[in-house]
Symmetry: C7
Subunit: 97 residues, 7 copies
């Protein structure tokens, strides 16, 4: 019954990646390794309209893994899951393996 959200304008819907605090074998990981604040792009808005009315598309796309700023973003709950909305300009970059 969870609703699907299409972000407006240049907003980006993010599902944060929570780093495991234990390994599979149950060993507690040191806090430092969980510092990277990253997320998965779930949905992006259509972009903002420039001064001349043309759409400026959002700089990230669905499926991207992104680096997020420490502060900011709006918490959104859809069904049981927690998401965050960010303006695309607030996203620090995309992460690649």
């Amino acid at each position: 019954m969870a609703k699907r959200l299409i972000p407006s304008l240049n907003r980006v819907l993010i599902e944060k990646i929570v780093p495991p605090s234990k390994t599979n074998a149950g060993i507690l990981l040191p806090e430092k390794s969980s510092k990277l604040n990253s997320g998965k792009v779930v949905a992006v808005g259509a972009g903002t309209r420039g001064k001349d009315g043309k759409l400026i598309p959002v700089a990230v796309k669905e499926g991207d893994t992104v680096l997020l700023p420490e502060y900011g973003g709006t918490e959104v709950k859809l069904g049981d899951k927690e998401y965050h909305l960010y303006r695309d300009d607030d996203i620090l970059g995309t992460l690649h393996d």
Copy 2:
């Protein structure tokens, strides 16, 4: 005798969706399930004029279900019903089943 309001410029008239706090059978729902601040778009303005005088249309349309920010919006009472006015840029996204 209620008046009809056509929002000006990029304003959007919203009727907030109040989630039922009880089920039809009278069972109280836990508070958490009512967290989503959403509304129905009742009317939209004609848009703002860009620097070159052309209209930039509003990003949502009548009938859309939208996700609203926690704060902001102007309360408006038309007849017996309570509405809220938002700038289209303040609307976080549209909700779809």
Copy 3:
């Protein structure tokens, strides 16, 4: 002997609509029904000039009934009557029966 005012640029001259606090039969109306802050557009400016020098006309026109924000506007007294000046962007919308 009252002077006529033509608002400058994107300003709009408004005569506020004071809702009757009693019915014709003298019955006091509850306070809540008088909450709508509306007015009649008496005169509008020629509009502001955009970056390219072209006039961007005011979004409302003489005779419109408009919804006004709770705060703002400049009180102007012309002859015995009290008016208010608003920037057209501050007007929330137009009211229709």
Copy 4:
């Protein structure tokens, strides 16, 4: 020996209209009738240059009677007379009989 001032850019030189506080017959007028803060346009600037370098002319012209905001404006003394300089955007409107 008074100098003549040509305001720069979008500035407007105003001679304030001081309403008589007595009638010709010497009767003191009630304070309320003197509330309108108006003035005569004595000189206007050539206008400001827009982003594309073209002049955007001042919205009022010499000889106009204008409604002034309660605050703002720069006092200027030329010879024995006191004037005020306003940006044309600060002028609320023009007054007509």
Copy 5:
């Protein structure tokens, strides 16, 4: 040995006109007559570049007598003489006999 200053961008070099506090015959003038804060334009910058890279020339020219705002301006000493630098937008107007 005094250096010559060419102001940058839209800056204007002004030599302030100090009104005589005594007449030639040695009579002290009342303070009020010295209120006008004016100066002579000694040099002007080439202007600022607009968004499209074109120069927007300075609104006053060498030799103009200008009215200055009460505050602002940067004091500059060249040789023995004291000058002031103003942005051309801060100059209130030009004075003419």
Copy 6:
């Protein structure tokens, strides 16, 4: 297992150059010689989109040695290494031998 970060828009990923506080021979260097706050450009964003939607490329490129402002920048940890993100406008210049 360290991830690679592609900065968004006009952001620049920097690896700071930590000046040696001792010489190879183990002699402590005076503090003054370590004042220059510089770094190596590891990755740059695609640039920001101008008002007309066109990309404005980042002013520095991968491999550049840059001079950094004393304050600002966002710390990012990728694998074991510490990096900093800066907006390209905050970078003071490029350093060359």
Copy 7:
């Protein structure tokens, strides 16, 4: 071993001119004569990109003697020498003999 700095965007690298506090013959000069805050332009950035992506060149050039504002500028040490970085808009003007 000193590095060469190419300022970014519209930044200008300045070597301040320190006025002699004694004459060659060893006579102390009065403090007033050292008031002029000037410098030599050592290097300039490529300019900033305007809204349309075109470079707006820096208003001063290498070798110019410039008048600097009393405050502002970022101290940079290259080798043994101390320099200052200014935005070209902060430079008050160029000095000529």
